[in-house]
Structures are given as structure tokens and as C-alpha cells.
């Protein structure tokens, strides 16, 4: 595959988001649409994906992870901000103009049941991207290509004539991956690709993605709410809360020394495999619910649930800043917290 060859053709990151915002108007009425408010699903996200990197985006359900993914692929219109793909700003491009570019950015979906048309055979599903883009030559060559792709993702080509409901969840997800790979993309956006799978199958699919990433030089944006999966796969990790990134760092730094109280809470929520340790441990569980993105709290969006919040946290929202705060340029980690220097509260 030529994925490796194409990556690195140009300098600079493969994907860059600059202050991306996706707001949904909460309207009433059909003809006279009165806007009653705005749901800020994604509220100013900036991130860079270097070529060949796997970036993990984590956060609770409803924090805007999936919305970000859909906006990157321009399946949702961003309200503001810029999306720069391979040096070109694609934010204002029409769908027609985007079509050839879609070959280079593919998505893997969370739901292995809903994301495959139940009336198409595996062969047609995997060959569909080739048909859509007029690639893959005649029927025979496309057949060979589909067989090759199926083997690539660990499916037997003999299964090609089956319908999705005849496959298991993990196998369906493999079909989804084969579909995404058919066009030899540069960027793969994985929206919680293993959340719907059994734990035993999750590892297989995660390993498959890791192998493919290495062999094809893919750039992957990996969205998840499971930190252990992200830890295994990603070099850099961004933590999202209520439509914003609250902390971004490389894997070891983030897991070793989380600076944002929300990151700490997330890490605490990961169970320890050793039952003795797990029983002795007293994780600081978060109080309360995620606030509605339609009415985000003033100041820092996390302050109502934050164990170390101070009065100023409810007044001034912290910006995502380099940490530690020094002038030395390329910063390796970014934190949006007034109290990033504070030591973590002792376990209760």
C-alpha cells in the first residue's frame, strides 16, 4: 500500500484544528425558528496530529468527542474555527470539492451493528469505497483487492458472501476497518471503535489497529472513553471536558503526573487489575453530573465538580496553557487549570 509513501510528502502536521467550535442552535417551531439557546458541543478545540502519530482523545460521554470527529470529516458543519488537512484549510470547502479528499480521511464507527448496511454482503461493503471513487478496476480485480483487504484485517475471504448479521461484533468492526483501508487513507479517525465490543475482542481489534498503524504509516485520531485502551495505543493524549481540551500531554507524562483535577479523576476511575489493591484503594470519585453543554457553568467548566476549586475558578475560565509555565518554546504538555501547580488532594 502506498500509505507509507504518501505520508511525509509535505512538512508539517497532517491535521490541525484551530479553535474548532461546533454549536447547535436549540430552536423551536418549524417555520419561524426562534433560537432559544446554543448547545456548545465543541467549544474551541485546537490540536495537531503529526504524520504517523496516534493521538488519543478521551472524555466522558457527551463531552463532544464524536462531534469533533464528525466535524473533522466535515460530516457536521463547524460553527467556527479552522480545519487544516495536509497544509490545506478545508473548512469552507463544498461537499463536492471534498469528495476526492475523502479518500485520504476515513472513519471507523463506534457501532459495529449500525454502521454496516444490513442488506449488503461483506464483499460489497468492503468494495464499496472503491466503487464510489471509481477505483479498483474491473469486477475481478476488485474481488482480488477485497480478498486481500479481508486477509489484511484478519477475516477469511471465504466469508465475503455473508451478510453483516452473520458476523460477530468484532468481525463487523474488522469489516469496518477493511472498508476504511480500501482507499489507502492517510488519516484514520476512530470513534470509540472498541467500546461496543466484548473486552476479549477489544484487545484483538486494538492490536489490529496498532499493527496497521505501524505497517501503513497511518495517522490515527483515536477517540475513546477507556483510558487503558488509549494508553496502549496512543503517544499523545488529549483529555476533553464539556467541549474543550483540559489537558494534553504525551502518554507517560499524563499517566504519571496528571495536572488537571479532571484527568486525575479519570485516572482514578480506572480499576486496578489486582483485587487486593483495588479493594484497598479509595478512588476519588467525581461528584455530580456533567453540566449541560447548553448551559455551561461560568468560569472553569469543571469547577462545580472540582475537588480543589477556588473562588476564582467560578469567575475566570482558565486557558489551555503550557505547563510548566515557562517561555521555553515547544511545550510538551498543556493544561487548562488555575491550580495546575497544586499537588493532588490526598486520597480520601
Amino acid at each position: 500500500m502506498s500509505g507509507t509513501a504518501r505520508s511525509g510528502a509535505r512538512p508539517g502536521p497532517l491535521l490541525e484544528l484551530k479553535d474548532l467550535r461546533v454549536h447547535f442552535p436549540l430552536g423551536e417551531g418549524l417555520l419561524l425558528r426562534r433560537t432559544r439557546g446554543v448547545l456548545r458541543a465543541v467549544d474551541g478545540i485546537s490540536l495537531r496530529l503529526e504524520r504517523g502519530e496516534t493521538y488519543g482523545l478521551v472524555g466522558e460521554s457527551g463531552c463532544g468527542k464524536s462531534t469533533t470527529a464528525l466535524a473533522i470529516l466535515r460530516l457536521l458543519e463547524p460553527t467556527a474555527g479552522r480545519i487544516v488537512f495536509d497544509g490545506e484549510e478545508i473548512t469552507g470547502w463544498s461537499q463536492r470539492r471534498l469528495r476526492p479528499l475523502r479518500r485520504r480521511m476515513q472513519m471507523i464507527y463506534q457501532d459495529p451493528y449500525g454502521s454496516l448496511n444490513p442488506r449488503m454482503k461483506a464483499r460489497d461493503l468492503i468494495g464499496e469505497p472503491l466503487v464510489i471513487h471509481g477505483l479498483g478496476g474491473d469486477r475481478r480485480r476488485r474481488r482480488d483487492r477485497v480478498d486481500e483487504l479481508m486477509q489484511r484485517v484478519g477475516l477469511l475471504p471465504e466469508m465475503a458472501d455473508r451478510y453483516p448479521h452473520e458476523f460477530s461484533g468484532g468481525q463487523r468492526q474488522r469489516i469496518g476497518i477493511a472498508r476504511a483501508l480500501a482507499l489507502e487513507p492517510d488519516l484514520l479517525v476512530c470513534d470509540e471503535p472498541v467500546s461496543a465490543l466484548d473486552v476479549s475482542i477489544q484487545a484483538q481489534v486494538v492490536n489490529l489497529l496498532a499493527d496497521l498503524q505501524r505497517e501503513l504509516g497511518l495517522t490515527i485520531l483515536f477517540i475513546a472513553h477507556d483510558l487503558s485502551v488509549v494508553r496502549h495505543l496512543c503517544r499523545r493524549i488529549g483529555v476533553m471536558y464539556l467541549g474543550r481540551i483540559v489537558e494534553e500531554a504525551d502518554r507517560d507524562t499524563l499517566f504519571g503526573d496528571p495536572r488537571h483535577p479532571y484527568t486525575r479523576a479519570l485516572l482514578d476511575a480506572v480499576p486496578v487489575p489486582d483485587p487486593v489493591v483495588e479493594a484497598a484503594r479509595a478512588p476519588r470519585t467525581l461528584r455530580g453530573e456533567v453540566p449541560s453543554p447548553a448551559r455551561p457553568p461560568a468560569g472553569c467548566p469543571f469547577h462545580p465538580r472540582c475537588p480543589i476549586a477556588e473562588p476564582r475558578c467560578s469567575e475566570v475560565g482558565p486557558r489551555l496553557e503550557a505547563y510548566p509555565r515557562r517561555d521555553a518554546a515547544p511545550a510538551e504538555r498543556w493544561v487548562a487549570c488555575h491550580l495546575a501547580d497544586a499537588e493532588p488532594a490526598p486520597s480520601l
Partner: protein
Amino acid sequence: MSAPAASAAASSPDSPVAPARAAWRELAGRLVREKPLGAAGAIVFALFLLCGLLAGALAPYGINETHLAHRLEPPSLTFLLGTDQLGRDVFSRVLHGARLSMIVALLAAGFSTVISVVLGLLSGYFGGWVDQLTQRFVDAWMVFPGLVLLIGAISIVGPGLGQIVVILSLLYGIAGSRVVRGAALGVQGQTYTLAARSLGARPLYVLWRHVLPNVMPVVLVLFTTRLGAVILAEAGLSFLGLGVPPPAPTWGGMLSGDGRTYMYVGPWLAIAPGLSLTAVVFAVNVFGDALRDLLDPKMRGIR
């Protein structure tokens, strides 16, 4: 890379595959097993269809062939369903009436379904102002009572087979688009249409390849229920003298003309077409209901 991992999760590599034909066979099997009444309805309708198709060959006499010596005769071996006041064979006329009913039914139900599908898919898939525009039009259309619209339209364009088919198609097609729209909305909310778009598929491709096949069960049920409705509507029009003009034999016409006039001396004149009409409409409705029951629960029938 782990091929063993995949085969471990696979049920068994040589389990039977399910081509589309097998799905239809499965549906037919379930119809017979789970809905015998519906299967009977399908058979009765098929018989009428066959009668209509072969009316020319099956009818013992011509439709306007008069036997003046045998006027208003009750059913006998010579005249299976008796004769009318002009000595015409009622059986032959009912057969030809079946042909006309079937022609109208298939054409009008077919065209109306096509109209419903086109309007419904466009409305449901594109949404936004396209949806608003078409749906408000459908609203306005459905405000008129069907029969009034039919009679009004026929009195303008005049009676005739073509006119009836066109008007019935429009009448039922536009109203039925609601059903298809609802189904299309459901499919449009599925991730696989989003996935197709993210692959770079054009809207018409998504509609044709993803949305249409997945609303087909609904379309199938819509078509069968329309068959019954259209047959009844045509008979109603013929009864009012607005259908296909005589001397062409129509069930509705036979009921209203000779049937009513000679009801007491020759009840078979009304019974034969009346019973045929009831039977065929009942059969097709029972069949449509059975299909709906089989296909509706998460469309598990013809996946």
C-alpha cells in the same frame, strides 16, 4: 495481525451463505407457516390475477355475445353464473371484469407506490426545505376527501381507463409518501448512511444503494395495501358511472346497472361481481396485513 483470532470468533467458515433469493424463499416460508390466512389471501389474489390474465381464453362466451333465448337464466352448466337480461354470460363478463380490475390495480398501485417512494425518499433523506415544501403540499393534498377529489377530477378529464389510473396513482401516491418518508427518516438516522457519505458517496448513490433497499419492506406493504384500495376505488367509480365506460364489463358497473335493476328476478347478476370484488379485496388486504406483520418487527424477515 492475527488470522487465528478472527477464525476463533467466526461461527464456522462453511456455514451456508444467504443470497437474496434465499431471503425471499424464507419470507414465503414464514408466510405459509406463521400467517396461513395471509398465504391463502396471496393465493386467492393470484387466482384472480390469473383469471384476469387469461380472461380471453377462459371465458366460454364473448362479453357482448347475446343469447336471446336464455335471458335472465339462473346459473347452470351452460352458463356457470347465469345470464343477464340481454342473455349475456355473467361468468364471461365477471372474468373480463377481473381483467380490468387487475389492470387498474397493478398499474395504479404500481405508479402510486413509485410516486410515494420518490416523494418520500426525497423528503425524508434531504430534509430541510425540501421536506417542508413536499410535506406541506402533501398536507394540502390530503385535506380533500379522496372520493370528492376522484369524482371532481374524472368529471373534468372524463371517464376512461388511463384517466382512472393516473388519478388513482396521484391520489394514493401522494398520500402514501408519508409512509415512505417515515421509513426513510429512520434509515437516514442509521450510521451506515453517514458512513457512505464519509466515503465520499453522492446523495443519489446513498439513496439508491442504502436508503431504498432498507425501506423496501415498507414499500412492499404499501404496494399490497394499495392494491385493495385501488380495486375498491375503481369499482366505486364504475358504480357511479365514472369508471371505464360500457360496454366494457366492470364489476362496479355490473353491480350498479343490471345488478340493481334485476336484483329480485336475477340476484346472481349482483352476487357474482359483488362476491368477486369482496373476495379479491379481502384476500389482498389479508395478504398485506400478514406481510406487514412479518416484515415490521425490526425487518427480520428479509435481511
